[in-house]
């Protein structure tokens, strides 16, 4: 599995992006069989490379999301509607899995190469790096917060999910740590030599919005 992982990550940037665009077009416009093949291949690779998968959104979420979409149509839906919903869900699933796979195999070096190759603005690198870097950090933070509160007696199996105080306990420290991390990450990224090639800089507000949108895109 490690060999497969290394091979996937070591591939050329343009090969990775090319394969992604091809999967994307098959998933959206191709025959349903090709679309299913894309979904199965991407899901399989993501399952077999857990080390890389850990840095991006879990592919199971995509599967659950699409299953829920179909189940919503089943009660009271005609056979034709259910088939249409299933086809649409499969296509969305393929797009999500192909994107998750791209996120898993793309490295910060690839991001730099793409930026230079396509002469993209610097904010592109910021968003892409935020997606590659920030999501694992945000997940790390939530784990630390939950451990800290459980250690003080918070029992998640007995608290009510309808009480706002339950969310306050976890969300307040989480938001504080994530905001701090976003701002430090932003200063740090701006200072790194490869990013400081131009005198163009970003405002903290832009950075927080970019980092947050990058995180939400993957969440």
């Amino acid at each position: 599995m490690k060999a497969l992982e290394r091979h996937l990550v070591a591939g050329h940037t343009l090969t990775k992006v090319g394969l992604y665009l091809q999967s994307l077009s098959l998933a959206i416009w191709g025959p349903l069989g090709a679309c299913v093949a894309v979904a199965v291949a991407c899901f399989g690779i993501l399952l077999l490379t857990p080390g890389r998968r850990g840095t991006v959104a879990n592919p199971f979420y995509a599967l659950i999301l699409c299953a829920v979409a179909v189940l919503l149509v089943v009660p009271g839906g005609t056979a034709q509607e259910i088939i249409a919903a299933s086809e649409l869900s499969t296509r969305i699933l393929s797009v999500m899995l192909a994107s998750a796979l791209l996120g898993a195999v793309i490295t910060p070096s690839d991001v730099l190469l793409l930026q230079r190759f396509f002469r993209l603005p610097r904010s592109f690198e910021m968003v892409a790096l935020a997606m590659v870097l920030f999501v694992p950090r945000a997940l790390d933070s939530i784990r630390s917060v939950v451990y800290a509160q459980r250690s003080r007696g918070l029992d998640l199996s007995v608290v009510s999910v309808f009480r706002p105080s339950t969310y306050r306990l976890v969300l307040v420290p989480y938001i504080v740590s994530v905001l701090k991390a976003a701002l430090t990450l932003w200063v740090s990224l701006n200072l790194r030599p490869s990013l400081a090639q131009s005198s163009e800089s970003m405002t903290p507000i832009q950075a927080v919005i970019l980092v947050a949108s990058g995180g939400l895109w993957l969440m």
Binding site: K2, S109, P136, S151, G153, P173, S188, L191, S201
Partner: protein, 453 residues
């Protein structure tokens, strides 16, 4: 030469200047030190000299910083400085060690040799997300020192490193300084790296800067509580592996801690200390082995009640609008009566150097850490676990934490402390067990002289 002339700086939204009329000059090819207590203004000064302030953090700045007679406070100078923050994770952007170091601009063939120096016996393809904080600090240091910038600023670079990590980092700092760069360390005391030579040391105190030799970290007195013989907590053959991991994080760990005893678990970065703490307070389940509390085998739920943990980062815990509310949270989970809660809050107010009505988010890092420790102790569990309790504390708060441990031990409780250097736990433990690669390898009792690893 890097020169600061008459620097005075005030953060936006504050009335008081953080640095007043600072003059500094640093020669090329030297390692230098800015040292001072927490909140003295040393990090602010380092950020001004690195160009982080005023370009990325706004405020009111007067005076100028010159790099080879070119002012750097007016315009951003691309690729001038590397700044490694106290939180090493902020610096990292590669998903694996290899990619992170590659991004610093190092030739691919040199990476294994350099990584071997700071990260021996670690695969270059290890994802950073799977590494401990200390291991990540090693990678961040490697990356910051190898980046092709003439100025390097390292804010408390040894904070999370074990003994060998400190020595290896010091070697790498000296090697890069010899290439003509200006390296500046920001520390609270004299750096723990013995062999590291600093050309100049500036003391930052009360917002003013002067040349001055750094002091050693003050030593605290040993614990006064005398350990008993009845064990409060016994661990037998505890083994644990994270899901999907190829090796065990803990392998057959046996240990016991008696009433009124403080035990320190010390080991290098990534040796399994934090995993052990998480298992002992019932937040994770072990694969093999058992934990006994006062002779009875304890389930995860029973452990969560009998064993409480205060974690390394206090900010992961604080959520309330006042210190009182923060302290009350844990007590209410214990379903105590109002009288009992009031008594314990009264006791907490005597232990804390700030009011119970204070906003916890406005406290300093050391004060937040003290608050979290007090919140853990007033729950009066059988055993208290403290993860790196002295990290980031100034002398006054470190003394308060030590006093807190001592008074808890006198009530018959036990304490287990986790740290990466024996020197950090000498004043707060009776016994030290050394851990390596998930196993207990040795034991030091405090009557014997403690060695600094």
């Amino acid at each position: 030469m890097l020169e600061a002339r008459g620097i005075t700086y005030r953060y936006a939204g504050t009335d008081l200047s953080s640095v007043v009329d600072a003059h500094i000059s640093l020669e090329e090819g030297t390692t230098n030190l800015l040292w001072g207590d927490i909140g003295a203004g040393k990090t602010t000064l380092a950020m001004i000299m690195a160009g982080v302030i005023p370009h990325f953090i706004k405020g009111s700045l007067s005076g100028t910083v010159l790099w080879n007679n070119r002012p750097i406070t007016k315009d951003i100078v691309p690729g001038l400085s590397s700044y490694l923050f106290q939180d090493p994770q902020a610096y990292l952007r590669g998903p694996t060690i290899r990619e992170e170091i590659e991004l610093a601009g190092v030739a691919a063939e040199r990476i294994p040799e350099l990584a071997q120096l700071l990260l021996p016996s670690t695969s270059l393809d290890t994802p950073l997300a799977e590494m401990s904080l200390g291991q990540r600090q090693r990678v961040a240091l490697c990356s910051a020192l190898l980046a092709p910038t003439p100025l390097v600023f390292l804010d408390q670079p040894f904070e999370f490193l074990d003994g060998s990590g400190v020595d290896n980092a010091a070697q790498l700092i000296e090697a890069t300084t010899e290439q003509g760069r200006v390296t500046t360390l920001v520390e609270r005391y004299r750096p723990t790296a013995d062999g590291l030579q600093c050309a100049r040391a500036y003391e930052v105190a009360d917002r003013e800067v002067r040349l001055g030799f750094p002091i050693e970290q003050p030593e605290l007195p040993r614990l006064e509580a005398i350990p008993g013989t009845a064990p409060n907590l016994v661990v037998e053959g505890l083994s644990f592996a994270y899901r999907g991991a190829s090796r065990f994080s803990l392998r057959g760990v046996d240990l016991s801690v008696a009433e009124r005893e403080s035990l320190a678990v010390v080991g290098p970065n990534g040796c399994g200390k934090t995993s052990l703490l998480l298992l002992l307070c019932g937040l994770m389940r072990s694969n093999r082995g058992k934990v006994l509390v006062r002779g009875d085998r304890a389930s995860a739920r029973a452990l969560r009640r009998a064993v409480r943990c205060s974690f390394e980062n206090p900010e992961a815990q604080i959520f309330a609008r006042s210190v009182r509310e923060e302290l009350e949270f844990g007590l209410r989970r214990l379903r105590l009566g109002e009288t009992d809660i009031s008594k314990r809050l009264e006791r907490a107010s005597r232990l804390l150097p700030f009011e119970l009505s204070s906003d916890p988010f406005r406290l300093s890092f050391g004060q937040k850490k003290l608050l979290c420790a007090v919140a853990t102790f007033i729950a009066e569990p059988v055993v208290v676990l403290l993860d790196e309790p002295m990290a980031g504390l100034d002398a006054a708060n470190a003394a308060r934490v030590r006093a807190l441990i001592d008074s808890f031990l006198r009530t018959g409780g036990s304490v287990i402390v986790s740290a990466h250097r024996t020197s950090e736990v000498a004043s707060i433990s009776h016994r030290v067990v050394l851990m390596d690669a998930g196993s207990i390898t040795d034991e030091i009792v405090s009557e014997q002289p403690m060695e600094t690893s």
